[in-house]
């Protein structure tokens, strides 16, 4: 079973390990590959394979919780060295789950989801609002958007792009 990942023609080879879990081999480009063994128990093992003929060298073993945390860091959820205003996750082919930070200058501040016609104009659905330590899940149409909120939205790429334009207010400047 070979599944191709997108971007940079990266090859990720997935294979089953009966009774153990799954193995993912990520080619790093210079002949080495990163081998991730995911146990059914949730345990992850990371190996580095210098080339096709060599034995894999074990780098580290992570519990499920640790692995997820490391994964989130790698994904850039805590710190994004490249300027990017949002984090996105692919739910299914074509549907994205995205996080958007609302800046104080955004035209959406002070509007409700209804008054801004978010759904009608862009096609996305706001599924949650992170405000300080709280999460407002499934906000209703009267929920007011505040500065510093993080909006969690679902939609296809086009809708998400439209929403980003609306959020930053770029459309009015142009």
């Amino acid at each position: 079973m070979v599944s191709e990942a997108k971007a940079d023609a990266m090859d990720v080879i997935e294979s089953d390990l009966p009774g153990v879990g799954k193995k993912h081999e990520v080619e790093l480009g210079d002949g080495t590959s990163l081998v991730i063994v995911t146990h059914n128990t949730g345990q992850r093992e990371l190996y580095l394979k210098p080339d096709d003929d060599s034995d894999s060298e074990k780098l580290v073993e992570l519990s499920d919780r640790l692995a997820r945390m490391v994964g989130t860091i790698l994904e850039g959820a805590y710190f994004q060295p490249v300027q990017s205003e949002h984090v996105e996750t692919m739910l299914t082919e074509g549907t994205l789950l995205e996080w958007y930070a609302v800046e104080a200058s955004s035209p959406l501040v002070g509007e409700t989801l209804e008054s801004a016609h978010v759904g009608r104009k862009t096609g996305v659905t706001v599924v949650a609002i992170q405000r300080d330590e709280d999460v407002i899940s499934a906000p209703d149409s009267q929920t007011e958007i505040e500065a510093e909120d993080t909006l969690v939205v679902i939609g296809d790429r086009e809708s998400c792009d439209a929403f980003e334009t609306m959020l930053t207010g770029d459309e009015e400047e142009e």
């Binding site: 079973m1 294979s15 089953d16 390990l17 009966p18 009774g19 153990v20 193995k23 081998v35 063994v37 146990h39 059914n40 128990t41 949730g42 093992e45 190996y47 394979k49 003929d53 034995d55 894999s56 060298e57 074990k58």
Partner: protein, 403 residues
């Protein structure tokens, strides 16, 4: 000795054995067996220390049922982790490697069994005992040695999948042959019943997926475990009651559950349950073993080790080649597959059922003692071969090159 106290001592012995196994870096299976032998009437019962009899633990009803549950859960897990799609997906390679493995080792076992024990049934049992590698020990060693991330893991795990399916069919026939009536008609009837039962269970697996899914829907961890244990043990019990292998029934129940969306949760939650009862099974094997009898068949064990180590090396090597691996990695496949363990012991337990019936008591006892000695030798030898694989790999590369 009070019953609860005896069971407590038994579990304490298991805990000690597992601790020791971890300390010396070997598999738990041989140590569980040795622990069972140590606390058995045949060893502890004979000891007198400072004028006092050392108390021994007898395998009462609880231990016997516990051991039976161990077999049920071992096979249940095999079914749970068995994936028919996976087998179909890479069928040509698994089929090639698995069939070579079956032909070479089962074939050698048939000849060896007939030469050593002289009856066709004993030959059939011995063939199974020397054919089936130990999924438990091999998988654990693969992880411990880090080979799991290498290419040699695929043919090893693939061959084990083939063996798992083979052993399910084999056990059904073996139980029918051992417990079946005398004469051709009686045999045909019990084998027919066993195969009919397999067919029925296959239909359940094929068409019952939704029912199994509904059974587990929305259940908490507690309910999930209880429902699965309830279904599995009940069906295994029904199988045994009508004279079909309970292990095979458990295998197919596991397979049915493997198609549900809860499979990963099931594996996680039921693993400790399996480990506890599997440990009871191995200790029970030890309890039933008289070391004197094992010593009596030492020569047979020696011959079997000398014959069936090279056969697994050979079939494993060819299996690796079937997966397009070079000589070095193919050698590792061979070395890794040498380990025999839990399934050989399950077959030995089947042989014991036939004592005085289809097998003479002497032959059944000999096969049992032989298997215990054989598994002790092969589980330790196999782990050592994996640990010190380098000289073998060097020889292979010198002889066959690197491609």
């Amino acid at each position: 000795m009070a019953d609860l106290l005896a069971i407590g001592a038994l579990f304490a012995a298991i805990a000690l054995a597992s601790l020791l196994a971890a300390r010396i870096g070997t598999s738990v299976i041989p140590l569980y067996i040795i622990a069972g032998m140590a606390i058995s009437p045949a060893v502890a019962g004979e000891l007198v220390v400072g004028g006092y009899d050392v108390p021994a633990i007898h395998s009462g009803e609880f231990v016997e049922i516990g051991a039976e549950l161990g077999i049920v859960f071992l096979l249940f897990f095999l079914g749970l982790e068995f994936n028919l799609d996976r087998l179909v997906e890479s069928r040509s390679r698994i089929f090639t490697a698995g069939t070579i493995d079956l032909a070479v080792n089962f074939g050698a076992g048939l000849v060896l069994g007939y030469l050593l024990f002289g009856t066709p049934l004993a030959a059939f049992l011995l063939a199974g005992i020397v054919y089936i590698s130990s999924s438990a020990i091999i998988t654990k060693s693969l992880i411990d040695r880090g080979w799991i991330a290498n290419d040699e893991a695929a043919p090893m795990l693939g061959t084990l999948v083939y063996e798992d399916l083979a052993i399910a069919v084999y056990l059904a026939i073996a139980v029918a042959l051992v417990t079946g009536g005398n004469g051709v008609a009686g045999l045909a009837q019990s084998v027919g019943l066993a195969l009919g039962f397999i067919l029925l269970l296959l239909l359940v697996v094929q068409f019952g997926g939704e029912a199994f899914e509904r059974l587990l829907q929305g259940s908490s961890n507690e309910f999930l475990v209880l429902r699965v244990v309830g279904v599995t043990v009940l069906i295994a019990g029904i199988a045994l009651a009508i004279g079909v292998s309970e292990a095979v029934a458990a295998f197919f129940v596991g397979m049915a559950f493997s198609s549900t969306t809860h499979v990963e949760r099931l594996e996680r939650l039921l693993e400790p349950v399996r480990d506890v009862f599997a440990a009871v099974f191995f200790v029970w094997i030890g309890l039933e073993t008289d070391p004197v009898l094992v010593a009596g068949v030492a020569a047979l064990v020696g011959i079997a080790v000398l014959v069936t180590t090279p056969t697994k090396l050979f079939s494993g090597y060819l299996g690796g080649r079937a997966y397009d691996l070079g000589p070095r990695r193919s050698t590792r496949v061979g070395l890794g597959m040498v380990t025999r363990g839990e399934f050989s012991l399950i077959i030995a337990a089947v042989a014991l059922e036939g004592a005085g019936g289809t097998l003479s008591a002497a032959v059944a006892g000999d096969i049992y003692s032989f298997t215990v000695g054989y598994v002790l030798a092969m589980s330790i030898l196999g782990t050592l071969l994996m640990q010190y694989s380098e000289p073998f790999e060097r020889v292979a590369v010198e002889r066959f090159g690197t491609e």
